[in-house]
Each structure stands twice: as structure tokens, then as C-alpha cells.
Symmetry: C2
Subunit: 223 residues, 2 copies
DNA sequence: CAGTGGTCTAGACCACCGG
DNA sequence: CGGTGGTCTAGACCACTGT
């Protein structure tokens, strides 16, 4: 018996030809049957390898047209969005939490009629790490009104309560106003990294949060 | 003939049970054979559906142990990193480019010995959109020294020359100093969104770039 | 219309790892 | 050890879409 050819073998071989320049951007690749013959494997194996190359943004495929090397490779970066507690603990810090304010009132746009407004602070080794300004829709999550958020952050409660939801997230830069500067122990006018996230479940907006990090924070990934 | 059950059907059905709470976080799911029987399909179909759920961070699988709903769902966001030109044109702007300065000198850390230092500006409808400060290793890419970057940005040349490379990217916030403020037509002290990227090919660092966007820039995605 | 990729099936073998 | 998922195969049908 000869070793079976795995889809990883095929993927690596194809990728090598592309990165080496044998198959330049725009090139039309041979069909699946032909490649399968060349490698001595089943067409399904080639199909899986190609599927991954599509996912990696290396090639494009269209029925009848065939498979082409993308003209310019699709650059996509994947960021994991950890819970603050985990993020701090992974970096070796001791996690701390502080509820700054809590109020119930009319909801801001898109969150229904009534909402809970929470402001909290997440600490690493006692020093401010992240400032959280959150609205929770009481129309969608009435239970939130009676939860005690003085010892544990709302994000942890939300993850338990509605673990699988849709979200939109955006990154931006913001200036430290007096409130943020006081909370994060930095100078007013500092540049801060900011994350905004809105979360839906079954089409209803549940919560909207603005997270502002202490100065110097970075989000990093490889691709 | 009855309709064939697709892997999408299976994935959607499983996902529904999880989001509905029938299968709470931590639950052990039935084995592939059992699910295949329930849905009246081949095991391979279930396997593919489960594979996607793993990729989406919904479940975890281990041989012998079986498939479990993740305790806390893995939150990951995927951002596409477009060429500036495309990013501007997609938003309906007319792309413009300006080479601000060009110099050859000793390379900064990690880029070898000699490097090309370029500063450029990318414009949308004539207004500054992004400031680019780039180093290109002349050890790794000697050809860059003779390229004319006065009419076209170095990113476009790089994409053609080394289309498939490894990169590390990070996002942060930065303050507008006098140079940035002048380039981006904003007030000194404004908060600006910044991207840093280092690119390797076959283990050698090729280029390092800092991209600073005009005030108010956001990076957004859904997940 | 015809050629390409997309998917399903039924069966098989195997690697891994929990009990 | 034995049960689970991981993968390969050979074959088939079909959807899409360029020519």
C-alpha cells in the first residue's frame, strides 16, 4: 500500500506553486479532476483543499469558469474578542471590577423603550484597564433590572444569559474627556482605543456598549 | 424521491437547538452516527456541519470525548484589510496619492541593514484620508530602490511583487502630532486610529508600515 | 448547452484519547 | 481497550454560468 494523499498535502502543494510564482495572480488552475489525477487522489480531496484556499482568500472559484489565483490576495485578520476578565488574567494581572453607576431610564435609539444604563470599570492589578459604558434593553431583557451588578460585570451575566447572539463591533480612537481621564487615571486629551458593540438576538437589539481602554492599548493578530 | 438533507440543514438545526437553549453550554451532543440517523443523511454530512460549528466557535470536539457546546462562545471578528485605494473607492471617493518624502538609510530594528523610508498620503476626493509611514528592507527587496513611488503607492507595488506573505497587524489609538496634524488637516492633539503592520516572506521581514487615518475613522464588522 | 465546481452517499480505515 | 471524530474513496447527481 502507498501512503494516502491528504487534503493538506494537496493544499500545501498548490499553495507552494502560488507563492513560488509558478501560478501567478490571475492564473487559471487545472480542473479538480486533473489535479486529482496528478496527485493520485479522489476529487473530493482536491475539493476540500481548494475550499480551504478559498477561505484563506488565495483563490476564487466559479462554476464553469474554474479556479483562479486571486488578483490581489484577500487580506483578512481574525481577532478574538475575549472577556475583559480573561484578557487581564492572560496577561498575568489580577482582575478587579467596580460598578460606577447604575440607572434605569428611557432607552437610546434602537434599544426599545426602557433600558438599564451601567458604567463600570475593569482593573488590572488595581489599576484602571477598561472603562465600560453599557445600555441593556429592558424590553428585550427585563430580567436585567433585578440583577446585582455591583460585584460582577454585566458582560459576564450576558454571556451566561444569551450566549449565542449576533453582534456588530467597531474599533476607533477617541479622546479622553474629563470623565474618562479621571476613570482611567490618564491625562485629559490622551488618545484612547475604543470598541463599540451592539448585540442582537432573534432580531432584537439587546445591548450596546462602548469600551474604552487605558492609554497604549493595542489589538494584535497575525494572518 | 425525497429531498436530500444538506449540511446547511443540519448545521442550522443544531445551531437552533443551541441558541434556543435545548442544548446549553457544556452539553454533550449525540455522536455523528446518531445525528445522521435522526436527520436521515450520511455521517459525512453531519461531519461537515459540525466542522463549521467548530470554525464558528460554537462547539468543541475531541475524539472519544465527543462534541460539546462551548462553555462560553468564542467571540472572533474577521476584518478585511483592503488596499487604501479600494477602501476609498468603495465609499464613493476619488482616490488620490501623494509621495511626501523618500530616503534611503540604515534600517530600523528587524529590517536588515539598509532600508527605504517612504512617507505618503492617500486622499479621498482630494482630502487627506490616510497617512502612511513605511520602511522597506532593501536587503530583502533590493528592487524597491529603483522603483518610482511618486505616482503610485508602495503598497500596490508590494502586493504585485510579494503577493503572498505573512503579516502581523495591530490596531491602536494615537495623538496627532504637528506633522500628522498638518498632513491630515486636523488639529494637533486629535485622536487618530492607527494600524501597524509588519510583513514577512520566507522568514525575512520585508516591510513595516504605520497607517494613520483621518479623524473619525472606524473599522467595523459583524459576527 | 456543456463543463466546472458543489454536494451527498455509503463504505472504509485509522488516530486519538478517555475510562 | 474501544468509542469517537477525522479523513479518504469512488461514484453519482446537480446547479450554475460562460461560450
Amino acid at each position: 500500500m502507498t501512503e494516502p494523499v491528504t487534503f493538506r498535502d494537496v493544499k500545501a502543494a498548490i499553495l507552494l506553486r502560488i507563492t513560488r510564482g509558478d501560478w501567478a495572480p490571475g492564473t487559471l488552475l487545472p480542473g479538480e479532476v486533473e489535479i486529482a489525477q496528478e496527485f493520485g487522489c479522489a476529487r473530493a480531496t482536491v475539493n476540500r483543499a481548494m475550499g480551504e484556499l478559498v477561505g484563506d482568500g488565495i483563490v476564487e472559484r466559479r462554476r464553469k469558469a474554474g479556479t483562479r489565483v486571486r488578483l490581489s490576495p484577500l487580506r483578512a485578520a481574525r481577532f478574538e474578542i475575549p472577556l475583559v476578565r480573561r484578557e487581564i488574567e492572560v496577561h498575568g494581572g489580577a482582575y478587579g471590577y467596580l460598578l460606577v453607576s447604575r440607572a434605569v431610564g428611557p432607552a437610546p435609539d434602537g434599544l426599545g423603550t426602557r433600558a438599564l444604563h451601567l458604567v463600570c470599570l475593569h482593573l488590572s492589578d488595581g489599576a484602571p484597564f477598561q472603562h465600560e459604558d453599557r445600555w441593556i434593553s429592558l424590553d428585550a431583557l427585563p430580567g436585567a433590572e433585578t440583577v446585582d451588578f455591583s460585584a460582577r460585570g454585566p458582560n459576564e451575566w450576558l454571556v451566561e444569559t444569551v450566549p449565542y447572539s449576533e453582534a456588530e463591533i467597531s474599533f476607533s480612537a477617541t479622546l479622553a474627556d474629563d470623565v474618562l481621564a479621571a476613570a482611567l487615571h490618564c491625562a485629559p486629551g490622551a488618545a484612547l482605543f475604543r470598541t463599540d458593540r451592539t448585540t442582537w438576538w432573534e432580531g432584537r437589539a439587546l445591548t450596546r456598549v462602548a469600551l474604552v481602554f487605558r492609554p497604549g492599548h493595542r489589538m494584535t493578530t497575525r494572518y
